[in-house]
Amino acid sequence: MHNFISRTWSSLPTICFGLVAVLGLSYICLIAVVMNYAALTVSFSQSVKNDEAVVAKLESQYLASVNQITNTNPALAGYEQPVAQVFVPAKSVTALR
């Protein structure tokens, strides 16, 4: 019993140093993980913003096309008004027809 207490007492600094080392290592790992995560998140966020800007440019072309078509006179473009409109029953979108 005496030996056990003596050994424990003498190895206590070692245990403490080990614990501090483990905690320190964990701390550094945590910082590394967090910083990497943050950097990746920012990078991803920037990438999304850049893509959205590109899409917005494309959408402006789409809206300009819509405007151009709306302003086009079909008759001047060579189209003629249909002589008749034919109404047909709408087809069911389900398999049960």
């Binding site: 967090v34 917005a56 789409y62 109404f87």
Partner: protein, 589 residues
């Protein structure tokens, strides 16, 4: 034991020396070999960080198939700044910038030279909104004293499309860009971004604010705004309204297309408008939205509301007749039909079909002042609650007067002024069976957390019975199928309810002009189960007197466009369709 210890010490020392040499070598390359590059990068980071990259949520149009199209987004590019302290030859610098990005230069030659002479300053922005290629070209030249920095700004892909409703962002009275008008203003809380970068705060929050990290209040608040505006319908409406305004040299013109059952605004416009991407050249007086801020006396499109009030209260029925004398005097004022002609004894429907002021006054008299007050207060006594800023209320003071002449005038739309949004909401109550809905432009907010928050707009107030609205619709239907547009308005396969309105404009001295008018038009289809209600108006058109001359063709163009675009099925004029594809009916337009 001792020798072993010495070897270990030497190994450790060697390691330290090696590490030191590596660090020294690295420092040599960083400071000596690549010193200038890093210095420039550091300068750029400092300048960029001080202004911060602008961030803001998007606003979307919604196509008929549910596809989202950007109405307001972010564009990215570059800005150019000079450091007068290190800039070499200002003339050369100007010519280089001007040759690469002349359209982006925000300073004239003289202003640039003056700015370059301010040696006490180290940072002056001289050009904005450079494209990626322009920015890279200029950056590659590595001119001392010129910095090319990343920049992001608000961009409206549609330009003028729904610009007054989408709104703008500007600095206003603060030092941050915030929404100032339109949806940008009303939904600023959802659209604005707090700006604290993840890189800067994530680690600190891990220890100081774990709760916020796990359940971010910001993610539950910030997002993108989804509107109900359909871009192709909006384009059509804007083009049609612009044509009317230009053709008749009107002071302004406008229109709204709404789903009468839900209050969803499909399109809305006022001409003239502005381009949100070119605010430098925008007329400041156009930045608001006249559809909710300005009030008008709408004229005869008020008659269907007077008629429905009379029918709903039971004081008249569709079969009720009255003797139309063409003119009559009330409280010493003379009220006449638009053509001053008498019609004799006629039924109620003719009041709508022939737009008779004497008849509308008859209904108002039968209704009585108290009931008239109650109905019109329900219709116009409050703002619509539409999600646009600076909404005005109606001018309804005459509802408190005791002289009958005021009520007679209001019965045909004079002496009562309301906003276009109030008007379409009130007339929507006829279209949808008697309910006042809440008009709105935004259907949902797509939160950054990934959740889409649907906005609640289902509040409805019943004003009329379904029976009374149906009886009024029959009268409006008869107008469209009859004299409207010289009899050419009728669509064989689609019932359309319509009414024109022509009001004299006030002269600002308590009277009315004899030769200045406000033209309006209301219509919805299919009449008895409408998909769309359309309100059009044009103020002070030149060379024409009646709305039937200015807005009929525009209304019908929109009706035909909407029928085709949304494939609205016919509600009449087609024999019951056989399931066989061959058994069809035909109809010419």
């Amino acid at each position: 034991m001792r020798a072993q210890f010495r070897i270990r010490i030497r190994i450790i020392l060697a390691g330290i020396v090696l590490a030191s040499l590596l660090i020294v070598a690295r420092l040599y390359f960083v400071q000596i070999v690549h010193g200038d590059d890093y210095s420039q990068k550091a300068d750029q980071q400092f300048a960029s960080g001080s202004s911060g990259l602008f961030d803001r949520g998007s606003i979307y149009f919604t196509r008929k198939d549910g596809t989202l199209i950007s109405a307001a987004a972010l564009a990215d590019g570059f800005l150019v700044a000079i450091n007068p302290q290190t800039l070499g030859n200002p003339e050369d610098a100007f010519s280089v910038i001007n040759s690469i990005a002349s359209s982006s230069l925000s300073l004239s030659h003289d202003a640039f030279i003056t700015a370059a002479g301010k040696k006490s300053q180290v940072y002056i922005e001289v050009a904005h909104h450079l494209t990626s290629d322009e920015g890279k070209s200029l950056s590659a030249l590595q001119i001392k004293g010129i910095q090319v920095l990343k920049e992001r700004w608000r961009y409206y892909p549609g330009g003028t499309l729904a610009s007054q409703s989408i709104g703008i962002v500007s600095y206003g009275s603060g030092d941050t860009l915030t929404g100032q008008t339109g949806i940008e203003d009303v939904y600023n809380e959802a659209l604005s971004r707090s700006g604290d970068s993840l890189y800067k705060n994530f680690f600190a929050e891990l220890f100081s604010n774990v709760g916020n990290l796990l359940v971010s209040a910001r993610d539950a608040r910030e997002g993108d705004v989804v509107t109900t505006i359909e871009p192709e319908v909006q384009t059509r409406l804007e083009n049609d309204i612009a044509k009317v305004n230009q053709k008749y040299s009107s002071r302004e013109s406008g229109g709204i297309i709404m789903d009468p059952y839900t209050g969803e605004i499909i399109a809305l416009t006022n001409y003239p408008a502005y381009d949100g991407n070119d605010l430098k050249n925008a007329d400041p007086s156009l930045l608001g939205n006249p559809l909710v801020e300005q009030i008008h006396e709408f004229g005869s499109i008020m008659k269907p509301l007077t008629m429905t009030s009379g029918l709903d209260s039971g004081v008249i029925t569709p079969e009720t007749t009255y003797n139309d004398t063409g003119c009559f005097v009330v409280n010493k004022a003379k009220i006449c039909n638009w053509d001053h002609k008498a019609r004799g004894v006629i039924p109620m429907q003719q009041i709508i079909v022939q737009s008779l002021n004497v008849g509308a006054s008859y209904v108002a008299t039968q209704l009585g002042q108290e009931k008239f007050h109650d109905y019109f207060t329900k219709l116009f006594g409050q703002k619509t609650g539409v999600d646009l800023p600076s909404e005005s209320g109606g001018m309804t003071g005459n509802l408190s007067k005791s002289e009958q002449v005021y009520y007679d005038n209001m019965s045909f739309g004079q002496g009562i002024a309301v906003t276009p949004m109030q008007m379409i909401r009130a007339l929507g109550a006829i279209a949808n069976g008697g309910f006042m809905v809440q008009p709105h432009l935004v259907s949902a907010i797509r939160l950054d957390s990934g959740i889409t928050k649907q906005l609640e707009w289902s509040q409805k107030v019943q004003v009329f019975s379904a029976t009374s609205t149906r009886e009024t619709i029959t009268m409006m239907d008869a107008l469209d199928d009859g004299p409207l547009y010289d009899g050419k308005a009728k669509i064989e396969t689609m019932s359309v309810a319509a009414k024109t309105g022509t009001a004299q404009l006030t002269n600002g001295q308590g009277g009315y002009y004899d030769d200045k008018f406000f033209h309006s038009f209301i219509g919805f289809f299919p009449s008895y189960n409408p998909r769309f209600i359309i309100l059009l108006y044009t103020q002070d058109p030149k060379g024409v007197k009646y709305a039937s001359e200015t807005l009929d063709a525009t209304f019908l163009d929109l009706v035909h466009f909407l029928i085709n675009y949304y494939a609205v099925p016919p509600d009449r004029g087609v024999a019951r369709l056989d399931p066989s594809p061959q058994a069809t009916s035909t109809n010419s337009r």
